[in-house]
């Protein structure tokens, strides 16, 4: 299980880098705008998803994990999958946070996100940093996929899209371009959606509307802070 999870992470990284070489790098050179990049990524998602459907079929699958094994810590009962997810996610956050804060590559990455041209004239090898970024995001995406599938107990080829929108919401809420913002955005959205169904909270919202709550939170937050919680105000 762990070996295959590691394999998934590596596969995610390899795929990301390969896509960068064949697709994103040419697009960057052509200075494609947001619209082009966004549409191309939707196209990639479509091709990948349909390829999975074509090869492995549409049926839902589940990992071979005992759903009844429960850990009790005080008043909290956690399944094995939940424990694994919490531990792995915390470790990933810590590693990525340390990487961004302490290593040279991490600092270079942040410099690039601030001002790409300035980073380039400072002698930073932009292409190399982009590749490293893709590797990290591929590994993180692979890990996230495994963990989400673990927690949801069953998954099918379409489940990526269901994850995508809450992920978007979290990133936008935190402010595009801010790693800590994404973390905070994810936490705020997750807690807000779960709390909204709680009966002590104004009777609670019908659980089927949890995703709607997430987006209402997002829209309200953006009205108050259009650049996201941690984003930088746009300077013209």
């Amino acid at each position: 299980m762990i070996a295959s999870a590691v394999f998934a992470m590596v596969a995610g990284a390899v795929l990301s880098v390969a896509l960068d070489v064949v697709l994103w790098r040419p697009l960057r050179l052509r200075r494609a705008g947001f619209m082009g990049l966004f549409l191309a990524s939707i196209g990639v998602a479509l091709v990948l998803r349909q390829a999975i459907l074509l090869v492995w079929g549409p049926q839902p699958r589940a990992y071979d994990v005992d759903p009844f094994k429960v850990y009790v810590i005080g008043d909290v009962r956690l399944s094995l999958a939940q424990v694994a997810t919490i531990v792995a996610a915390a470790a990933a956050i810590l590693v990525i946070g340390l990487f961004l804060a302490r290593t040279t590559t991490g600092r270079v990455m942040r410099a690039m996100s601030d001002d790409r041209a300035l980073a380039q004239v400072s002698g930073i090898d932009v292409d190399r940093v982009v590749v490293v970024t893709w590797i990290i995001s591929g590994v993180a995406a692979g890990l996230a996929g495994v963990l989400a599938a673990l927690v949801q107990s069953s998954f099918d080829p379409n489940f990526g899209f269901q994850l995508l929108l809450p992920v978007f919401a979290a990133v936008v809420l935190g402010g595009i371009g801010s790693a800590y913002g994404a973390l905070a955005g994810g936490l705020v959205l997750g807690v807000a959606t779960e709390l909204s169904t709680w009966e002590g909270f104004g009777g609670g919202v019908d659980p089927v509307y949890k995703p709607v709550v997430a987006f209402v939170v997002l829209i309200v937050a953006l009205l108050l802070r259009p650049q996201g919680l941690f984003g930088h105000a746009r300077t013209v």
């Binding site: 619209m35 091709v47 509307y209 009205l223």
Partner: protein, 489 residues
């Protein structure tokens, strides 16, 4: 290969293309004209379709009343979505609109009482009775068929859809050439510059969003009639991306390319559904659906990489990558009976991605505007050529004498005409009050000469000539001056 000659296949291609033409036309208004990245168009389509179906099937309204109401509901939804979100940055707006379309689908899936829930419109009238909303439509279709002596239902549908689609394409193309359309394009190119001209950017964007949403609402109604049944699953976010693919396929900003893109898409879409010869025969129908979407994904990628300006487009004409920065058409000017400029056109092209570049272009536009304004004010009439963002800057003073202007002074007080003119900002001229005014006038005359020179350079007329260029203090009885509106489109 018999499929390619069958009427059924082409009727399907045609109807699908017609519906997507309506749908994408909305995106063309929103993105092609106003530059709005709406990735939630399908949500408006769903609102239109559901409003129509609910009003007809549950409330027993006439289709002829319910459909306009449905279209209005979609437009209203556009306004409601736009009001809080249009102030956001483009990429945020895009994501919020996807979220909106998913919220619509989510509500439609879960509000069983209102929409029939996941089972779709068949469930509209409650359990046990099969609800229908298209009886009146079918009667209308039969009536049209009888009038035109066309028996085949599909052909009647084809005629109806394309009549509506082409009519609306034509109207939209007309709309794009109105002042309203020009303001939208100006906003797309440079929001700040347009706002500085006194245009209410948010209001224009809201109007574009609502208009595009209304078109999607109509597409939703037509879709509903064509397939006689729909469920929330018909309004997946994917539909929006089909629309975007059509938009790019034809070319962003070209209204007449939408039907062409839609036909190509309709063929691609239908081909993988109907084709039964090799290599398609190796796959069962579910697999073919996967291949179809894969193909569409690939087409989107290839288009973005190789032809972002569209299949029909040439780079540079209203395309997404290159556009005219300064466009002046049909300028004619005559002074003292001498025709100085006759129907001159000028298009400057370039990229918009350098701030410095952009400021430079704007200075050029300013210089041009100033020049023409000076000529107009020299005639003591000062009409029509005054740019809105410098009100009354060159208005003649009360003595009737023209007043030269210092272009670096952003605002001039309209009331200071009778008084001694003291420059507001001591930028180029000494700040001391009345004694310096002749000095200031000399400086501004020099400046005026420079600007005239610059403007002529821009109009490619060579150095300033006496007939139309040299500034002189005497008032020339100008014959006529006409000037097109300019816009950076």
């Amino acid at each position: 290969m018999s499929v390619l000659t069958s009427g059924e296949f082409w009727a399907f291609v045609g109807v699908v293309a017609g519906i997507y033409t309506l749908f994408t036309l909305g995106l063309q208004v929103q993105f092609g004209l106003a530059g709005l990245l709406n990735f939630g168009q399908v949500g408006f389509m769903a609102i239109g379709a559901y409003t129509m179906a609910i009003l007809v099937a549950k409330e027993g309204w006439s289709m002829w009343v319910a459909t306009p109401v449905a279209i209005a509901a979609a437009a209203l939804a556009g306004v409601l979505v736009g009001l809080p979100t249009l102030r956001l940055r483009g990429d945020y707006f895009a994501i919020v609109t996807i979220a909106f379309s998913e919220i619509v689908r989510w509500v439609a899936t879960n509000e069983n009482g209102l929409t029939g829930g996941a089972q779709g419109t068949i469930n509209l009238a409650g359990q046990g009775t099969a609800a229908q909303y298209n009886g009146q439509w079918e009667r209308f279709q039969r009536w049209v068929g009888a009038q035109l002596h066309v028996g085949d239902k599909d052909v009647v549908m084809l005629i109806l859809v394309w009549t509506a689609a082409l009519l609306l394409v034509w109207l939209t193309a007309r709309l794009a050439r109105t002042p309203w359309g020009r303001v939208l394009r100006a906003i797309r190119e440079d929001e700040d510059a347009t706002a500085s001209l006194g245009k209410h950017v948010l209001a224009y964007r809201l109007q574009a969003l609502a208009l595009g949403a209304a078109l999607a609402g109509l597409a939703g109604c037509v879709y509903a009639w064509q397939f006689s049944f729909f469920s929330p699953d018909d309004y997946q976010p994917l539909i929006t991306f089909f629309g975007w693919m059509i938009l790019i396929l034809g070319g962003v900003g070209r209204v007449w390319a939408v039907p062409v893109g839609a036909l190509v898409f309709g063929f691609l879409f239908a081909a993988t559904r109907f084709f039964d010869f090799a290599p398609f025969s190796y796959l069962d129908s579910a697999d073919r659906a996967y291949v179809r979407l894969m193909l569409i994904g690939l087409v989107i990628i290839l288009l973005v990489v190789f032809r972002p300006q569209g299949l029909l487009g040439t780079a540079g004409r209203d395309g997404a990558r290159v556009s005219a920065l300064l466009e002046v058409r049909g300028v004619s000017k005559a002074f003292a009976g001498i025709r100085a400029v006759d129907d001159a056109s000028l298009v400057r092209r370039g990229r918009l991605d350098h701030g410095a570049h952009r400021a430079e272009r704007r200075r050029e536009v300013d210089a041009l505007q100033l020049h023409l304004r000076l000529r107009a004010s020299r005639r003591g009439q000062d009409r029509a050529l005054r740019p809105a963002h410098r009100p009354a800057a060159a208005a003649p003073d009360r003595a009737g004498r023209p007043r030269p202007d210092v272009p670096d002074r952003p605002r001039a007080d309209a009331d200071d005409g009778a008084r001694q003119r003291a420059p507001r900002s001591p930028g180029h001229t000494p700040a001391s009050a009345s004694g310096a005014s002749s000095h200031a006038a000399a400086a501004s005359r020099r400046r005026e000469l420079e600007v005239t020179e610059q403007a002529h350079e821009l109009l490619r007329l060579g150095p300033a000539r006496r007939a139309c260029g040299t500034p002189s203090r005497e008032r020339s009885p100008a014959a006529s001056a006409s000037c097109s509106t300019w816009h950076a489109s």
